[in-house]
Every structure is written in C-alpha cells, then in structure tokens.
Amino acid sequence: MALLEVNNLDVRFAVRGGDLQALQSISFSLDKGERLGLVGESGAGKSVAAFSILKLIAQPGYIAGGEVLFEGRNLSAMSERELRQIRGNRIAMIFQDPMMTLNPVLTVGTQMVEALKAHRRISTRAARDIALKKLQKVSIPSPDKRLDQYPHELSGGMRQRVIIAIALLLDPDIIIADEPTTALDVTIQAEIMALLLALCEQDNVALMLITHDLGLVSQVTQRMLVMYSGRIIEQGPTKEIINDAQHPYTQGLINALPQMGEPGRRLYQIPGSMPSLSRIPPGCPFHPRCPFVTDECRQTMPEYVQSGNVDVACYEVSKLIEQENRAPEVTP
Amino acid sequence: MKKLLTAFVGSLALASAPVAISAEATQSLKLAYDADPVTLDIHEQLSGGILQLSHMTFDPLLRWSNDLTFEPRLAKSWERIDENTMRFTLREGVTFHSGNALTSEDVRFTFERLKQSPDFKAIFKPFSELKVVDETTFDLITSEPYPLLLNAATYIFPMDKAFYSGNDKDGNAKAAISKQGSTFASRNQSGTGPFKVTSRQQGVKVEFERFADYWDTASPGNVGKISLTPIKENNTRVSALLSGGVDFIAPVPPTDLERIKNNPETSLVTMSGTRIILFHMNQKRFEPFQDVRVRQAVAYAINQEGIAAKIMKGFATPAAQLSPAGYQGHNDSLATRFDVAKAQALMKEAGYEDGFTITMMAPNNRYVNDDKIAQAVAAMLARINIKVDLKTLPKAQYWPEFDDRAADMMMIGWHADTEDSANFYEFLTMCPNSETGTGQYNAGNYCNPETDAMVDQANVETDLDKRAALLQDVEKRLYDDAAFVPLHWQDLAWASKGSVKIEPILNVMNFPYLGDLVVE
C-alpha cells in the first residue's frame, strides 16, 4: 500500500455564477521515501493539488469528490481536529516564498516551538532543544542566536532553511514542497535543493515537489506528473518522461526550453496559452493548442493509456499505441 | 423611578456630611441654570447671574417684592430727609460670613466700590455721596432730586469692609475690581446672605451651604445645601429635571412648558416678564424708514400675538410699547395693531407698493427663540413686499455688529436695571449722543427731541403721579411715531420638582430668593 494515495480528487472553486473545476479526477500515489514531481504552468492546479491533500485550500475552494488516503485513512473525510494531528506532524509543507511564510511578528523560536507543542506533550525547554538541533541540521550558522531572531532579520536563503528545519521538526513521513526555491537566487536555489534532497534521503522522507522547472524535476525526482488545466495529462518515471515525453503538451514544454534549441535559432513553441479556469474548453483542455487535434479531442477527455511505464491521456498517443500493437499482426 | 431618585438624593445627603446647619435647614437642593456666576465679585459685572448670586450670598438694603413694591432687608427703614437725601436705618445684629458685624461703614465702603465699578457706576451716577451718620444710620444723597433712589438702592448689597480691605498675598488690593485676571474679591466672599459658597469649579459647579448665623431667623427657608450646575443646552436641562437629576431649573424653554406642566412630578411657575424684545428700524442706513408711514406699515405687518402664541408658546406677553404693566410708563391704551391690509395700504401710500429689500440681524443664542422670532418677522414683512435678508449670529458676534449698526433692522432685548420706564427710553429711543451716553442702544437712530425732553423732565420729577403721566405720554408718542417695532415681553419660567416650593420666592426680576425656599 502506498503511503499516500489520491483517488479521483475533484476540487472546485465556488464563485459567483457557478463552480470552477480546479482539479478534475486527480489520481496518484506516493510511496515511502519516494520523490514525486508535480509539473505544470501557473494555473495548472499543481498548488491546489498540494494544498487539497491536507484540506488547506482557501475559502471558495472545496473538495467536491474523490479521496486522499494517508496510510489508508481518508484525509478528506477527517474532522479538522483529526487533520491537525496529521498536518505538520506526519505531512509537512514548505511554501514557495520564505518571505511570506514565516509570521513577521513572531520569533523563529516561537514558531518552531509552537509546532512541536501542537503535536507533542513537551516542555518549552525541550522543544527549544529539538528546534536547535534541527537548525543545526540545516546548517544555519549560530543557530542558538537565530531562535530569538525575527524572520526579517534573516536572509531569504536562511529563512528557507528555517522552514525546512520546521518541516523536519516532527520527523514527518511526507514533505510537500510547493516551489521551494522559485523565490531564491540561482546559486542559493541549488544549495537549498541539495540540502532538502540530502535530508529526505537521509531520513527516508517522501518528497512531493511542486515546480514549473523541468530541470529541477529531472534532477530531483523519481517519478513525475504533468498537469494541465486541472488534469494530470501524463505521469510516470521522471527519466522516461524527460527523455521520451508522450503527450504533445509535455513534448512542447520540453522542446520549448532554450537549452533544447540551437543557439540563435527559433525555439519550438506551443501556440496560445493555457486557458483560465473559467474558460476550459470541452474535451481535452489542450486541444486548441495541439498540433494533432481531432474532433474526438474537442468532445471528450481522453482516458489514460499506458505507454511503457508512463500513463498518458491523449488520443494521439493511444492511436499510436494501437498501431504499434496491431503492427506485428500486419507484418508478415 | 421615584424610589430610585429618593434613594439617590438620600445617599447624596449622607455623603456630604453637614458641618453646621440650622435645625430645620437640612434639605439640599440641586439647581441648574443656563450659566453659573462668572465671578464671586458681585461688582465685577452687572448681569442677571451675578444678581442672582448676590441674593444668595449677600442681602440688599431693600428688595423688590413680587408685586413690585419694596421690602426692607438690611435696611429696616428709610425716610426722606430732603429733596436729595434719604436716611436709612440698618437692621441690628446682622453679621457677615466672616463673623464681622454689619455697620454703616460697610455700606459706605460698598457704595464707594459701586461707584468704581465700570458696570454699576452708571446706576449710581445720580448719587453724590453716602454719609455715615452712626453705626446703623446713613444718608444717601443725590445731586439732584432723583425719583428712582430706592430702585437704585436695591443694588446695594453691603460688603464686609474689613474682609475686603488691605492687600492679598500677591500684594494686590483686596477691594480691586478687575475684568481681567482674578482678584481677591473674585475668589472670596463675605456677605450677609443666607448662603456661603463652599466650593466652586467655574463652568462646572458651585456649592453653597446655609450660613448658620443668618440674621433672618423668620425666614421659612429650610435648604441647607445648594449645588448649582450650569446646563446650557435647553433639552439637557429639561431632561435633567425630568430624569430627577436636578430639583430646580431656570430658564425653561417655551417648547417644554407644556410637558413640564403636564408631568405630575414637576411643577412650573411662569410670570410675565419685563424684558422687552424689539426691532429697531435704522433710519440712517435705510432711507425709507425715515418715512413714518413705512415705519407704521412695518408695525402693522407684525403679528405680535402670533409670535407670542406660536413661537413663544404663549410664553410671552405681546407688546405694543416698551414699558411692561406695573411700570410707571405703561400706557394701557396702547394695543398691538396687526393689520396686513392697513400695512399694505401704508406702503402704497408711501410709494413702496412693490416693496424693497432690507437687511436684518438678530442674535441666535441671546434671547428666548431669538432667531425664530426674527425669521417669523421676516416672513411677516414678506407679506407687504419687504424682502428681508436675515442673518442670525451668536451673541458674541452679534454685539459688535450691533455696535456698528450693521443692518437695517436689528433685534434687541432690554431689561431696565432700575425697573423703570425712563431707562428704556434713555437707552433705546433717545437721540444717540456719545457725550451723555443716551441712545447707546438706539439702533434705529430714531431721534425725537420732544420726547427726549419729556424723559429728561421725568428723571427729576419726584411726584410719582405726574411722572407717570409724563412717561405714558412718551410711550404714546413713540407708538404713534412707530419709533420701533415692539414684539413682546419675554416671560419668565422656572420649573422644579413638586416638593420644591418655588412659587413664593420668585419675582419678575428673576432673582429667586433662595434663602426663603421651602423644600418638602
């Protein structure tokens, strides 16, 4: 049994004039110690997916269907009180912007100690000791001093280290990291990512990495999902997808990277842009931008087909697979 | 609510433990006026508030009774010695709050001080001297025969000479009168009156306590303590009475008379007053007013009865002349003359059928409903095609405008300090003369040497009947000449809780004789 299993998760935003489908039938799983990447452009629903696992989607959003099983227990059916036992304790989160994530008016120590005390019967002194150890673990210089500092007194990289330390405080099983390095500079990014990776490997913590950076995913994760307009259009082992993407969107995304083009020449480009939630077209949401579009694509969302170890939702791909399967019969 | 209230008052009486109050003077009274006394020096300012204070903490030689006759107070008797001299005999055994005994010297000291006071010196101008005869006898001497000698004597509230002599610790004379800054006399008092001031927070509260050695042991008064709170806002003052916060209020706004009268727990006393409210028509500023027909037209256009009934809620006596009933100059034959047709005819006759535009000014916080009255008058004048540009001002700004005679018609209210008709004419209708000071408030610039001569004559006429005839004739002439537009005499009203028997102590001068007040 997978550590975390998401089955047919539907998330909607209740806005004036009806609901918007933010996530449609999302299914994936995460094993213990596994590193999973969630890739997509902004608005694809990857953050919504991350937040709905812990039922943390903001007000107009709500879970309309499906289940999130953590160790076999359905998180989406749990009471707030029960969920609080999981949040931060078994499943920790790292947010995108370290500037905004820490409460500006509370010291680092307070924010670490309160997390510990929320889940363990522990004295403040003991909690501080644990906090100190975790700060050392993320190699923050003079950690004892940091405990009494306010977030604004730390640099961006340092803050993200603190957040990683908080995530590790209660030795969780899963860390969900939502664009953990996007707000940081390139050289700092590399450092933070390396740290996170090392710590996850060391403690065998599962990592769910949400990012738009294909390079990062390719280097860090073992498996990845590609999202588009609230749907998972492709998922499978990272290497396979990067090396041989099946879905036209994934292909386009990879080919559009400057490093894939020849310097000074036009890059491959996907025409148009991802529709907003209120304007998702019927059928495959990618069809208006897809070079292989057919009438079928315009009408119904394709089912997943297996290509190698990769699940893809695309009629073109399923056609190709059919042809391949049929091929041996045709050949004499 | 009543129960609550008595408990409330009771606890109060307990809280303020009495020092020494005469056997029966145990009641306490909470009093709300529209203003509190400006100073404790009764010679610093001539105003109603100060005179009210004077009657509480001092006693005059003689005072007005309800029916406008004289009642002996500190002077137990007086007799005319010659044309210019009146001899007074003081009551014996009267002591000041300081414990000093009252003597003729104190009266002389007071008289001299009055002659120094900028506010009072005008009243005592006819007097040349106060001569001490012995400890309890003195002569009051005028330079010419003066018919209003006794009227003026009501302003003599003997002060404690010993108390007010010498210098205070700053080296200033204790007797000094000053409008600016504080003087010894403005902070300290020693009088012979029924009450002593025990504490005073200006603008907030003054507290009085009955003087244990008060000479008038015959007084039925049983109030031991008074606290006076100024409540300027009419509604709040009335609310305070109705909610039981105070026992006695004055003045009562006309709009609330009905309500207080109908309330079983409160009682109301009204009296027709002596303060005349009138408009002057400025002949100098506005030429058509020089035409007697125009002035008459205006006089005919004004419905005094309407104003008195509607705006004043019957709380005013419509006036056709200056002198209220009871004054020597009051002429019974003069009646209000509201007649729009006649007024229109007069305007036509004067050649102003199409009317004209005039400016008008009135205060808006000086007299009862002053601004509303002015508006009503403006509306009435509109009927005879006189368009009025009306401006009402707070009193502080109004008086400078008045001094400048800034509008064609200006409102003024006048109360004769001497309670005598001549005072009206001197200030309101005589030809303005800065040397003699006559006509100081004559904002109409009306000038009639004939009537002026008659007034002068009356001022030295000691035969009261003759004098009355003379003054009534003046009144008639002014009426015929439409020298001004009289509106009404503003009535006086006081209200109290049923248990506070205010009626016997009130008078048209608006000096409640609180020493004699009985509270049940």
């Binding site: - | 609330d256 509607k310 400016t359 000014m361 409903n369 508006q375 009306l390 009402t392």
Partner: protein, 310 residues
C-alpha cells in the same frame, strides 16, 4: 463614435461590476433609494408643494401642525409644518437639495485638493512629499468644527455678515473640503506610490513623456477607483459633518435650511411633542447617509477590499 459608446455600454453590462450589482439586493435597493432622494432633491422645485424660501407663503399661525395622518394634521401639509409654519415636506425636499449640494460640493473640493496634493506628494516624493504630508498631518489635528470656526471667521472678514445667506453654502463646502482633503490626499498618495512603481510608468518615461502627462494621463486614471470609493464615503461624511455643524449653529441659516439645520431647528421641539420637525428630516438624513455608505461598502468590496486602511 456611437459604436464606441455602445460597445462601452456593452462592456459595462458584461462587467463584473454590473454583474455583482445585479445580484446584490442591498446594493440595488440602496441605489434606487439614493437615486430617488437625489432626484427628489434636484427637482425639489417641481415636487415641493410650497416654496420654503418664499417667506410670503409662510404663515406663523400654521406652525407646528402635525403630519396629515395625525389628529390635527392639515392636508395642505402632508408631513406637517415646522415651528415657522413652513410645509415640512417642501422644506425637507429643499433641505435635501442643500445637503446633497454641500456633500457633493465638499467632496469635489476635497477631491480637487486631495488629488492634486496626493499626486504631487506621491509622484514627486522627497521634499514636496514631506511638506505636503506634514500639512495634511497638521490639518488632521483640527476637527471639522475648528476648521469651521476658522474658515467662518475668514469668510466673515472678507464678505461681512450680511452676505452670509448667499455664501453660507460655499462656505460649508470650503470648510468641509478643507477639513477633509487629507483623507483623499492620503488615499491618492498611497495609490500613486503603488502605481509609480509599476512598469507602465517607466514605459511612459522611456517614451519621453513629460511629468504632467505621466501624472495626469497615466497615473491619475489608475488611482480613480480608490478615489471613487473613498469619495462615496466622504459624501456621507460631508453630509454628517454639515449636520453636526448646523447642530452647533455653524451651518446653514434656517432660512435656507439643510437637513442638518432642519434637525437642529426642530431639536427644541423633540421633547415637547412636535417630534416630526426633527425626526422626519433626521430619518431622511440617516437614510440618505446610510444608502451612500452601503453603496460605498459595496463599491469597496467590488473594487478593492484593502482600501479602508486610512
């Protein structure tokens, strides 16, 4: 040009503003009531049975008649009469007009001062900003009442007392305008500071546009929605301020009453039974201010929930 306007209208009808307005009952009711009151005020001379400014129509003997539905009411005076015998309905209609005029006028004045100073302070920054905002600070330490006294005295010195009737309305506009401009200036400055950092301003600079063009053509239009929201609230505030000044006797003369001075003039009568003289105009005032506030709230929610920070 017509096509452009039509398309603008279409655009408006498709807009979120119109959409949410249609769905918000409170906004619709407030808007209808507001428009009704404004129309009644603007066209007061058409609707009013009598002209309260014409003194010749007034008869003192008709004073304090109760509304028509009460005993003693007179059909000639549907809402009764005031202490002068004026028809209360007409007086309220005219008074509403005066109050609205002062409300809008004062906000125009505040807007003119506030926008100008706010733009200058926000865009030019530095010393100009420091000086203007310090003035605004000082200004805020005066209550409207104090400004009223000061401006009143200045007006009096310049025009004399007799002109008062004619200039009172302008005076009140100036008073409330001066007393409250910092509110708008601060709002404008805050949004200019935010807008100034946006790249379209840099783009305009790079194009070589002059300072005035950038300030007024580019930045100003983008600060309009907060100005609009705060102005709505400020109109309500101005109407209340005027009422308060009138209550203290510093407002409109009773010969040309505003709602505030009507309330004040009836104030003496409220406890003596003639409640309608105060309470009916009071109700109109409260309803007027309330619907403006409700519309302001709604607008604020629509345009920018962050605005109320002052």
């Amino acid at each position: 040009m017509t096509t452009a306007t039509v398309s603008r209208w279409d655009r408006f009808r498709e807009s979120f503003l119109w959409y949410s307005f249609k769905r918000d009952k409170i906004a619709i009711v407030s808007f209808v009531v507001f428009v009704a009151i404004v129309l009644a005020g603007v066209f007061a001379p058409l609707f009013a049975p009598a002209d309260p400014y014409d003194l010749a129509q007034i008869n003192i003997m008709n004073s304090e008649l109760p509304p028509v539905w009460m005993a003693g009411g007179d059909a000639q005076f549907p809402l009764g009469t005031d202490a002068q015998g004026r028809d209360l309905l007409s007086t309220i209609l005219y008074g509403t007009r005066v109050s609205l005029l002062i409300g809008f006028g004062a906000v125009l004045m505040q807007g003119a001062l506030g926008i100008l100073f706010g733009l200058l302070a926000g865009y030019l920054g530095g010393r100009v900003d420091a000086v203007l905002m310090r003035i605004a600070d000082v200004q805020l330490s005066f209550s409207t009442l104090m400004v009223a006294i000061i401006v009143g005295a200045v007006f009096k010195a310049s025009f004399g007392n007799l002109m008062f009737g004619e200039i009172a309305i302008y005076m009140l506009i100036v008073i409330i305008g001066i007393a409250e401009w910092p509110q708008i200036a601060r709002t404008v400055r805050a949004s200019v500071l935010a807008e100034k950092k946006k790249e379209y301003v840099d783009a305009a600079k790079v194009m070589g546009f002059g300072t005035n063009r950038i300030m007024f053509r580019h930045i100003l239009p983008n600060t309009l929605s907060p100005i609009f929201v705060i102005s709505t609230v400020q109109i309500a505030n101005a109407i209340i301020s005027e009422a308060a000044l009138s209550f203290l006797g510093l407002g409109m003369p009773e010969t040309q009453p505003s709602l505030g001075s009507l309330i004040k003039s009836g104030f003496d009568y409220i406890q003596s039974g003639s409640w309608w003289i105060t309470l009916i105009p009071g109700l109109v005032l409260v309803v007027l201010v309330l619907v403006i506030n409700l519309l302001g709230d709604w607008l604020r929610d629509m345009m920018n929930p962050r605005l109320y920070k002052g």
